[in-house]
């Protein structure tokens, strides 16, 4: 018999709708997985066992009464711990916020509750989604390896089958990086698609909240449940939330997919990932898509531009806190926050100029080449051992793993465009990786459609993390 936790979110949802399983059974299955994996993986900041059981019983009663709100009703979801949850401790991985009890839900959480989702727990993150993660959350694929951050607990929990889906946040890749490392589907949607009201900020002009799941359809359902305009949020977009699944199975015949090679297929791209992503490109051609080679030299300044913006904006948020609670910050976080205060305003604005330049260039490429999406690897490496993150890469390429991990992801935050990581391989060391699809503003539906066309031809998403199988 299939374990309930082996069901994807959408499969569990279908069974709930058909009366073949209850929300309480799904919650209990997740709690058993938590009991089994948490002693070694350490994905959760707080496990909401009693609250989840109570919410599941309410959901089951409503569904039994014929009042099913939608596909997320009764589905257990984990929430990154930098996202406010009313009456539930939210600490953002920092001693600065120890014991903090929000008196309201972040809009994305309120939307999920309205859709009937069940909160199974708060998931660990790097301190303020910037700094340390101690003790370290461990990769379910290899306990000695880094599972990707800053949504580090979100990726590890969904992989550990202790949650059917999770919310992450992404300022420079923090949804897509752990999704790639954990063999998950992760979406950084268009800037403003999901409100950041009630999310502890990293950088206001770059922050996103988004879903991390096992399959594309799961991801589309979860995004639809959390998205929507929030008038209290000046970054929130007045855009209707479409049915992201409506055209999911329409295929890619005639789709135009852009591929940039100078930046994304650079010498630092590991050969196994290069070969797999080339195979993805070939697969899309076989399925009827047209591959368009594009040039985007402005990509070269995206990393420095994003770093500069993050430093200036995050230090502005922390300006009072760092003076009141300096000793409570981990030294690595404190250094980032302090550094931002030393950056001249002219540098921040120069970075915003660089951002404008890049946004103009990528939007021009989309329109002039009539592209539906762009495609590249999510990361140039799979991951790295926890104790090697800041050393030079073991394969000899002169970058640190941490630097490599965000090489391919910053650009989408700068442009504000939707970007989705999709599993596409497992390397010779047994570590998964993904490719990334970037779409036009507010056209997540097309991104999902193109991603699903690949996913339904492959079974990468069915591969399970071996390091936790024998626990």
């Amino acid at each position: 018999m299939t374990e309930l936790t082996d069901l994807s979110l959408s499969e569990a949802s279908d069974m709930l709708g058909a009366g073949e399983v209850s929300s309480l059974e799904l919650v209990e299955a997740n709690l058993r997985a938590i009991e089994k994996t948490e002693p070694v993986v350490q994905a959760y900041a707080k496990i909401l066992a009693d609250e989840a059981r109570a919410a599941a019983k309410r959901a089951d009663a409503e569904i039994a009464a014929g009042d099913r709100r939608g596909p997320l009703h009764g589905i257990p979801i984990g929430i990154k711990d930098n996202i406010y949850t009313e009456g539930i401790v939210t600490e953002s991985g920092s001693q600065v916020m120890t014991g903090f009890l929000p008196d309201y839900d972040a809009t994305c959480v309120a939307n999920l509750k309205q859709a009937g989702a069940v909160l199974i727990g708060k998931l660990r993150c790097h301190e303020f989604a910037l700094g340390s993660n101690e003790p370290p959350t461990r990769s379910p694929w290899n306990l000695d390896c880094y599972p990707g951050g800053s949504s580090i607990g979100s990726g590890a929990a969904v992989t550990s089958r202790s949650s059917f889906g999770a919310l992450g946040t992404d300022t420079g890749g923090s949804i897509r990086v752990p999704s790639s490392i954990n063999n998950l589907v992760g979406m950084k949607a268009s800037f403003g698609r999901v409100s950041i009201y009630g999310v502890v900020p990293v950088a206001w002009s770059l922050d996103n909240v988004g879903p991390m799941t096992r399959k594309v359809r799961d991801n589309a359902l979860l995004l639809a449940g959390m998205a929507g305009y929030e008038p209290k949020d000046p970054t929130s977009a007045k855009q209707p939330v479409p049915d992201f699944c409506a055209e999911l199975e329409a295929g890619v015949a005639g789709a135009r997919i852009g591929v940039e090679r100078d930046y994304f297929f650079y010498d630092g791209l590991q050969e196994e990932i290069r070969a797999s992503v080339e195979a993805v490109i070939a697969e899309y051609q076989r399925l009827g898509a047209e591959i368009i080679e594009i040039s985007l030299p402005e990509l070269e300044i995206t990393q420095d531009a994003l770093f500069t913006i993050v430093l200036a904006e995050c230090s502005t948020y922390h300006r009072k806190l760092i003076r009141q609670h300096s000793e409570k910050y981990d030294p690595s976080t404190r250094a980032i926050v302090q550094l931002g205060e030393l950056i001249p305003a002219t540098h921040y604005l120069a970075a915003q100029q660089a951002r404008s330049l890049y946004r103009t260039a990528i939007n021009k490429a989309f329109s002039e080449q009539r592209l539906d999406a762009m495609l590249w690897p999510t990361m140039p490496i799979a991951t790295a051992p926890l104790d090697q993150l800041y050393a030079l890469r073991a394969d000899g390429y002169p970058e640190t793993p941490v630097s490599s991990m965000c090489h391919h992801t910053f650009n989408a935050n700068l442009a504000g465009l939707p970007a989705l990581s999709v599993p596409c391989g497992i390397n010779s060391e047994g570590l998964p990786f993904g490719f990334q699809l970037t779409g036009r503003a507010f056209d997540e539906a097309t991104v999902y459609r193109i991603a699903y066309a690949y996913e339904r031809e492959h079974d990468w998403h069915l591969c399970k993390a071996e390091a936790i199988e024998d626990l």
């Binding site: 990393q303 500069t308 550094l339 604005l349 329109s367």
Partner: protein
């Protein structure tokens, strides 16, 4: 101890960073000042990379509300 930029002879003294940070109300130790100085030098070099492109007439427009027409 000084930190030089790879492409020039310019240096920044950690003592200056320490004094500036303390003046701004940031509590940092001399050791942290050395770390901050190194990070700041890296940042200064990074910003130089923007000069590879002509930003003279580019208006900085941080996204604070993305519109569908942006595509």
């Amino acid at each position: 101890m000084s930190y030089g930029r790879a492409s020039s002879d310019e240096v920044l003294e950690p003592g200056i960073v320490l004094a500036l940070a303390n003046k701004m109300g940031l509590s940092i130790s001399p050791e942290e000042a050395e770390t901050l100085t190194a990070l700041l030098m890296n940042h200064l070099a990074a910003v130089d990379s923007f000069d590879a492109f002509d930003l003279q007439d580019v208006v900085p427009t941080p996204i604070f509300r993305l519109e569908a027409s942006d595509d």
